[in-house]
Symmetry: C2
Amino acid sequence: MSEGEFDLIRRYFSTAGKASRAEVILSIGDDCALTKLQPHQTLAITTDTMVENSHFYPDIAPYDLAYKAVATNLSDLAAMGAEPAWISLALTLPRVDSSWLSEFSRGLFDILDRYNVALIGGDTTQGKLTTVTITAQGILNQDYALRRDQAQVGDFIYVSGTLGDGLAGFHLLRAMQQGEKRALDSDRDFLIRRNFHPQPRVELGLCLARHRLANAAIDLSDGLGGDLGHILARSRVSAEIDLDQLPLSEPLLRLYGREQAELLGIQGGEDYELCFTVSPSRQAELDRHLAQLQVPYRRIGRILPAHSSPEITFIRGGKRLDIEVTGFEHFK
Amino acid sequence: MSEGEFDLIRRYFSTAGKASRAEVILSIGDDCALTKLQPHQTLAITTDTMVENSHFYPDIAPYDLAYKAVATNLSDLAAMGAEPAWISLALTLPRVDSSWLSEFSRGLFDILDRYNVALIGGDTTQGKLTTVTITAQGILNQDYALRRDQAQVGDFIYVSGTLGDGLAGFHLLRAMQQGEKRALDSDRDFLIRRNFHPQPRVELGLCLARHRLANAAIDLSDGLGGDLGHILARSRVSAEIDLDQLPLSEPLLRLYGREQAELLGIQGGEDYELCFTVSPSRQAELDRHLAQLQVPYRRIGRILPAHSSPEITFIRGGKRLDIEVTGFEHFK
């Protein structure tokens, strides 16, 4: 197959008729894109890469790959309280495959349009392994962001949605990849979709930032244990998590049982829910705002003074448990 | 070797003591970086990827890889007339190799410091092929950028520096890679260095934009033929290039002879010089400003009315030649 890079870009990543934004002065087609902010606005910038065989299997549906690659980046913007605005796409492909590209661009624009995000540029290169790097930029309309380093002793710790589904979905996918033949029931389908089509908590992040409800926040990409650990390290505090309060989905509980589901919920990655800390004095206000948003959330613990090193204590029925948790890290 | 991703990032990409910028409110370590612009400023954004075996050989010195990956992005900012401000780095590596990472980060910060650019974030992932994607952002201090689509009929066409060296350097590297044993004389060394350590024409781009000297500009990453072609297509004009005026380096002429050197100059990629078009009425002003900058530049042709399709006519000694040129494209 022989097709020029430039034709390829024009055909599948044309932004004609797609989400456009007033801030974008110049989009795809020049050396750079040009954008402009209002004087009161702050820019939030994040980059995430997905590599074949490390982050996804080669047979992943290209629609899902594009969708997830954007979703994980929007999740980082949500965790900062920023409104997603535009992305650059760096796409490395082993070959030009029209139907693959067509499905990839469909997934890409489906999620971009849903969140009113503009594709402003990128780079298409040839390489043996499919790799997707997205740099996403969002806008904060106030001098206040949901940072990791401002958790206060006494804060309540919250998470949105349910935990562990993304990791369970990954395990199910891997088993299928390794040849397991099992009909997909609705529970398995739910968990796999949670892994494939994470819903970035954009509205929640915007609400928390706009009303300055949270002192600290992070998105759960590497698992509660690891990601909450980042808040603790940066804020120089520790935390207590009540396992009885861990929000676990019915499909996860049915398929794995309570104990295994809890472990998935703590160690799991790829949930793309938000974990945030809120002063007890703001709890009523938080409940009021989040009821309006109709976002599921749960109080799962509280922030404690720092120990010698930041750490998480788990309790159940009021009793302290002796378990240790680390998040997912590459190269480990 | 076993080392956590987070330790790795902290150790080799710590920005302590490196270039910092007033616009950067929050840097590495949170879900996003945060930056702020002045009301009159415009943001320029570009992304470039380098993939092992496609853009560089696996044995490339990591210092050179980092340097070049940043330089190519800064070149895009220069071509827009933007001042380089900050970058995000997405780095995919097959393994953690301390000495490799140490050299890579030395090359990275050498060029970042030289141009006062801040590293504000990124993503480190594991994958079989080393891949470097950089998203660079720059600032325009006026509502005017060096676009591709504003070339005017009658404009003179200029290029900075010399052309063809980058491609010649690539050929020399490939010959060495394929086992050619030849001592590196100073000419070969010059050409290889031009490929490894391109100098983005940042000051030139800033000067052209600040004084609104150029109607259109592009950086020469894919070769004069291909890149000038972008200006012609976007501006709906055509061009005439005088081969006698093509700026060719002494090492290129000595090693390849005039005819081959010209071909390298036209078809060559990776020169990272600027090609720009200027109204004849601004020529004196241009000469005055560029003399101050001490940037080498040469007038090589002029913009003509559009033909049926945008195209470049080459002349020598005033006579029209019958040659056709295309730029480098992946997948071709």
